[in-house]
């Protein structure tokens, strides 16, 4: 497939935003049960603001993917059948929840609504945070299922796609949260950096598993099934056009196989290996700058990872365009 930068930015930015919010609410939940000291409201408010900015930037990027952005509101119509439609609903719902969560913390509007039997208070931010957590996971699943549900794009049609979207978004979000905590809430920094390390390692395992799986895929469709002629030797002589078409532009990444191969190692290093090193370093030195660098490197790595994710998918329609393939 041809990787569209709008979608590459959309999926990586909102992934990080979701991860950041999950990290914030993880801290609040730990604190609510007395496992961590309570943190200043400003930590949650600033974190929510950054998460909202990431989500808005992602949404903004997604509009560049549309031929008619002014009709985007129509995309909420078919949520019964379309994962894209579900994403279009989940993204603003999540964005709004994160915004309200941040507002509640910033202005300190946080009355206790109820109490758990254990005595832990249930306040507005806890309710918003729980709702946001559910929506964050729903959004991860919607985003990933857009790709995973296309059964003949076999590189994507695997539960690993959903797992990776959750893990990679979570890893970048927790890394960013750790960098934020280094200045805003130093005593939760070790917790967040440790979780970031764990999720990054899990992400590396998930992504490597996908790479191994995809390297072993055997195509289901062949030129023989595509045109229904059973002869083993078929050569395409004409594609039916001279200057290319949508079919030759949209479904091919247009780069060399060597670039694709090297990019694989580039993203394995920058999205996982280097951030793991930087996170460990930042954790031991309690250095916010190192953690921030870990996030920047990891985000750039995830951009490469997402580009590779799209480029690697081989659409069966390419069988009809052998001169490009």
């Amino acid at each position: 497939m041809h990787p569209a930068f709008s979608v590459v930015f959309l999926t990586t930015l909102i992934g990080a935003g979701q991860g950041l919010f999950l990290a914030l609410f993880t801290v609040e939940s730990y604190a609510a049960f007395g496992l961590l000291p309570a943190q200043a409201d400003s930590f949650y408010a600033i974190g929510s603001a950054i998460a909202t900015i990431l989500l808005v930037l992602g949404l903004f990027a997604s509009f560049f993917h549309l031929g008619h952005p002014e009709r985007a509101w129509r995309a909420a119509a078919k949520w019964r059948t379309s994962w894209l439609s579900r994403e279009v609903i989940a993204l603003p719902a999540f964005m709004g929840t994160v915004f309200l969560y941040g507002v509640a913390h910033w202005f300190g509007i946080n009355p206790v609504l109820a109490e758990l039997p254990s005595g832990a208070p249930v306040n507005i931010t806890a309710v918003l945070g729980t709702l946001g957590t559910v929506l964050a996971f729903a959004l991860y699943i919607c985003t990933a299922m857009i790709y995973a549900c296309l059964r003949f794009l076999r590189e994507w049609h695997t539960p690993l796609t959903v797992i990776n979207y959750i893990l990679l978004g979570g890893a970048s979000g927790f890394t960013l949260a750790a960098a934020l905590a280094a200045t805003e809430a130093p005593d939760v920094m070790p917790l967040l950096a440790s979780w970031a390390l764990i999720i990054t390692v899990l992400g590396l395992i998930g992504r490597a598993a996908t790479l191994i799986r995809n390297a072993r895929l055997k195509p289901k469709s062949t030129l023989q099934t595509a045109i229904g002629i059973k002869h083993p030797k078929i050569v395409q002589k004409a594609m039916g056009m001279m200057g290319g078409a949508f079919n030759t532009r949209e479904f091919f990444h247009g780069q060399s196989a060597a670039l694709l191969r090297s990019l694989k190692w580039v993203f394995l290093l920058t999205a996982f290996v280097i951030p793991i090193g930087l996170l460990s370093l930042g954790l031991s030195l309690a250095a916010g700058g190192t953690l921030l660098l870990a996030f920047v490197v990891q985000y750039l790595g995830l951009l490469a990872e997402r580009w590779f994710f799209f480029a690697q998918a081989n659409h069966p329609q390419n069988l009809y365009y052998q001169s490009v393939a």
């Binding site: 031929g67 009709r71 129509r74 078919k78 469709s221 595509a226 002589k237 004409a238 329609q317 009809y320």
Partner: protein, 243 residues
């Protein structure tokens, strides 16, 4: 239930691209607006087409066959492009099974084209909506036309009658008979999309002339006489003309 479809006879198609040209002409002139052409008279001309003819060489030299392969939307009975559309712009008509795009609802997200394994959908770079074969839905129900004209433009243009049009759910239709009797098949059956359009395979074409086709053996009205058979001793043509 009706399912309109094309049946394309690969044994007859000569790859003349008349269907491509007539399709473009009809559909670019319709009420839905033109189908874009970019650099039409320049280097790398490109544009939106509903129908293309591709050419394949089957076999190894010198035993090769050239197969011309017209390719358009197959109007699948289980169209994978329809449920993925977030706006409902892409839909399959209940009454005749045609898969259509509502150009006023389409947001141009291209997701349906990703969901089509056949590459049958093309975005119009000018109108920025997804376009595809409509089976000439604006022709086939136009009662101001004669019955012969109420067929898709590609079918009417085909000089060798390689394209048949009809209801594949009606067992007595021309297309159903063609599929049944000439080994009609669907493309990429492995995905379960159940394409409505079918293709008829290449066949060995032989001419067999039987005795009774030269001389009417049954002679139903006893009017035909036997063809004259001169006796062995009679003078032959050679005897008459030789000198």
């Amino acid at each position: 239930m009706t399912q309109l479809a094309l049946v394309i006879d690969l044994n007859v198609c000569v790859g003349c691209h008349a269907c491509v040209t007539n399709c473009k002409e009809w559909n670019t002139s319709g009420p839905a607006g033109p189908m874009v052409d970019q650099n039409p008279y320049d280097k790398d001309p490109t544009g939106t087409f509903f129908n293309r003819v591709q050419t394949f060489e089957v076999g190894e030299f010198p035993n090769t066959e050239t197969v011309h392969f017209p390719k358009s939307c197959l109007h699948c009975e289980e169209p994978p492009c329809v449920p993925v559309c977030p706006t409902g712009a892409s839909y399959k008509r209940k009454e005749d099974g045609i898969v259509l795009v509502d150009y006023d609802k389409c947001i141009g997200c291209k997701y349906c084209s990703w969901a089509c394994p056949y590459g049958a959908r093309e975005i119009d770079e000018h109108q920025r909506v997804m376009k595809k074969c409509t089976l000439c839905v604006d022709r086939i129900y136009d009662t101001t036309m004669t019955a012969d004209e109420r067929r898709p433009a590609c079918v009417r243009a085909c000089p060798t009658s390689a394209r048949l049009f009809g209801d594949i759910h009606d067992p007595d239709s021309e297309v159903s008979k063609a599929i049944r009797e000439n080994g009609g098949y669907a493309l990429m059956p492995e995905w379960g999309t159940q394409p409505a359009n079918h293709y008829l395979p290449r066949r060995k074409t032989n001419i067999r002339i039987r005795e009774d086709e030269l001389e009417r053996a049954d002679n139903p009205l006893k009017i035909d006489s036997q063809l004259p058979k001169p006796g062995k001793a009679e003078p032959s043509l050679d005897d008459v003309t030789s000198w």
